[in-house]
Symmetry: C2
Subunit: 456 residues, 2 copies
Amino acid sequence: MARNTTVPADLSAPPITSILAKFVSGHASRGWSDAVDHEAHRTFYNWLGCAVGAAKHEAADAAIAAVQMLQPAPQATVLGRAEKVDMASAALVNGITSHTFDFDDTHLKTIIHPAGPVASAVLALAEKNGMGGREVIDAVVLGIDVACRIGNTMYPDHYDRGWHITGSTGMLGAAAGCARLLRLDEQKTQMALGIAASQPVGLREQFGTMTKPFHPGGAARAGLMSALLASRGFTASPRAIEAPRGFVQVASDKRAWNEVTDELGQRFEISFNTYKPFACGIVIHPSIDACVQLKDKGVTPEQVERIELRVHSLVLELTGKKEPKDGLQGKFSVYHGCAAGLIYGRAGEEEFSDHVVNDPRVVETRNKVVATVDDSIDEASVHVAALLKDGRRIEVHVEHAIGSLQNPLSDKQLEGKFNQLVVPVLGDAKAREITAACWELGAMADVRKLTALCRP
Amino acid sequence: MARNTTVPADLSAPPITSILAKFVSGHASRGWSDAVDHEAHRTFYNWLGCAVGAAKHEAADAAIAAVQMLQPAPQATVLGRAEKVDMASAALVNGITSHTFDFDDTHLKTIIHPAGPVASAVLALAEKNGMGGREVIDAVVLGIDVACRIGNTMYPDHYDRGWHITGSTGMLGAAAGCARLLRLDEQKTQMALGIAASQPVGLREQFGTMTKPFHPGGAARAGLMSALLASRGFTASPRAIEAPRGFVQVASDKRAWNEVTDELGQRFEISFNTYKPFACGIVIHPSIDACVQLKDKGVTPEQVERIELRVHSLVLELTGKKEPKDGLQGKFSVYHGCAAGLIYGRAGEEEFSDHVVNDPRVVETRNKVVATVDDSIDEASVHVAALLKDGRRIEVHVEHAIGSLQNPLSDKQLEGKFNQLVVPVLGDAKAREITAACWELGAMADVRKLTALCRP
């Protein structure tokens, strides 16, 4: 077998597709700890908020307009909008909106945003079939485990060579979740995974365009269709993931098969999922966190003479823009992030809008921020000192920013983020009802109760 | 930029996505020779016959059953069947059926089967919109040019590492063809190509399963949707094909950009398309061709004492099965191929059915075939001698088998192949009408006249 890559074909890979099919089809419902089950609820809730939040974005408008050209049957909800479309198109669009603000979940070990492909496919299929919340949560846990374990197998080589790993593992996670929902047996689940293996979606070159969020959407759609095809007898290679010309070996020189098999069914990758508190790159998060803490200590922008940051050099390399002109540039300005944190106590999508970035009070505040490089400080940390006009000096040290694995958002904080996203689209009352429904999702008899709340 | 492959990122690639967008959106209708235009008609006609021929295959049944779960609107025809489905699903299913028998066209330089992704997408979209045959032919020529030129850029490395190149270039060809049909401007065509670049479909590991023909179908669907998305303002990287983290560099170490740019708009890759006369791997074709010629010389199986083949060693390596037990095994038996050629004068899908492979007259005939390896004979050639019971010896030497680029099927022979495939599904009269319609496709005012004929 001719191969021009550095790494030869691995002819002795374990039967990964088969192992995962057995796991997905056979693992007990809620066969994990309460902590894992709760994390699944948090993952789902955060994903739903992100999707609803971006429902009116121009990427959503364009995607829905294209889908409408297929005259789709009204099977499933486009979250946050009045339209219903066929379930495969709903998986696509909800996957797109959930990643549009770059505000969704992150499996830090692989930089996969796992809920986008998996939850988007699973909820659309469950809504169409009127299934229960327990089955949805089970499918989300198992689907995310499949996507992230395949990610662990290939990361970083697969990502380094240019694949957007969220969409190029997500089709397997979505297929797994949907196969589980459809109660496919082991053999058909293996076929679903096999069909999906031929359909990775995503190139890093697309970052900064609508095709970036298209990747989780496309992966959701591909995984859902793979499960439907398998359910009707469509076949694929039983070794489509691991064979020498199967997905992993074709798309990565790193093939750490043990990442699939180690503690399978005991350790769940969803345990390592994190949720962004701020709608920007993670490198600014410690600084924003510190400034929110200053506000919480009663510091107002008008009291402040100067804010001094000590940060790792990477922070200024990536986000050192002193005079951002619009919302997008604001996401690359640690100065703007600090101003938003101090003034508003938050930095959601709204705080990265053009008008906030150009608000005179915001501009005045960010001009008071001075950043110094100090590489003894970790990338994930910051030291902030506020010098007040009355001579006081108030210091905040952030070791692990809010939203990191070491310092996760509390459920209450997650609700705060959700409301920032959802209230402007669906209003207060619905946001409250959806929140209550999501925390109880595992006990919901029919998820259509939830999806009905997600339409205006 | 970290890369673990042998070949570093190419930071100076020409603007391939832009160049192709300009070409696809701007090239004149029928801006090529009559020979190219006629080849496009042959390509389309051959593709249509293959798709109709496999319309009742279990892969088609399974795919349609899955698609029906989306309750699709009846926008476009599933060729050879009564069902109409949404145009994206029609592109998928027709792409699947066109490749199910492995009997479709081949661009020999890349082993791409180009019509599957391109024509399947283009016809479904044209039918939905009631467009003319001229636009369809234009879109097929341009779409195939895009797919095959990208294939030339990456082949063989891309194929060697395990990509099924038909589906991993076909999404670009389908997007190009559909962008042309939709009359997208240069900028939107560039976006369509960009969106498609994130969606390659196909692994060689799937060979021998239904997911192999899924690849052209999936590519057709992806390309069609990419054009629809671009038409509604969805964005992608303008350098999605050629950038360091764009499709070609991510999926291949060979990046011969000149294969896109050389003689673009003057030389058309569809000129190099070929059509299989026999429903099996190309390595047996010379032997079958020779035995058909024996039959044409009046030789009957009963007259024959022995048939002696001199073949390249590859022929027996790949197709040396002496006692095939079923139709699929028959495709890997040069002995069976020779028997079919001598008895029936053809070797279509029917001659590779289980009952033909086990027919006593066929078994008796293939037992008379003796093959000898002679590596002075080219892989594409064969020397056959029939020793008759009356002592005569009749020899046939085939230098280039029928269906090769050097010895293409005539239009009449293509009609013979088409009828083998289509008559059993749609009957004689419709096969004749479709044939007439296809040869005049470039002049047809509305392709719905053709698609109506393709339903039973």
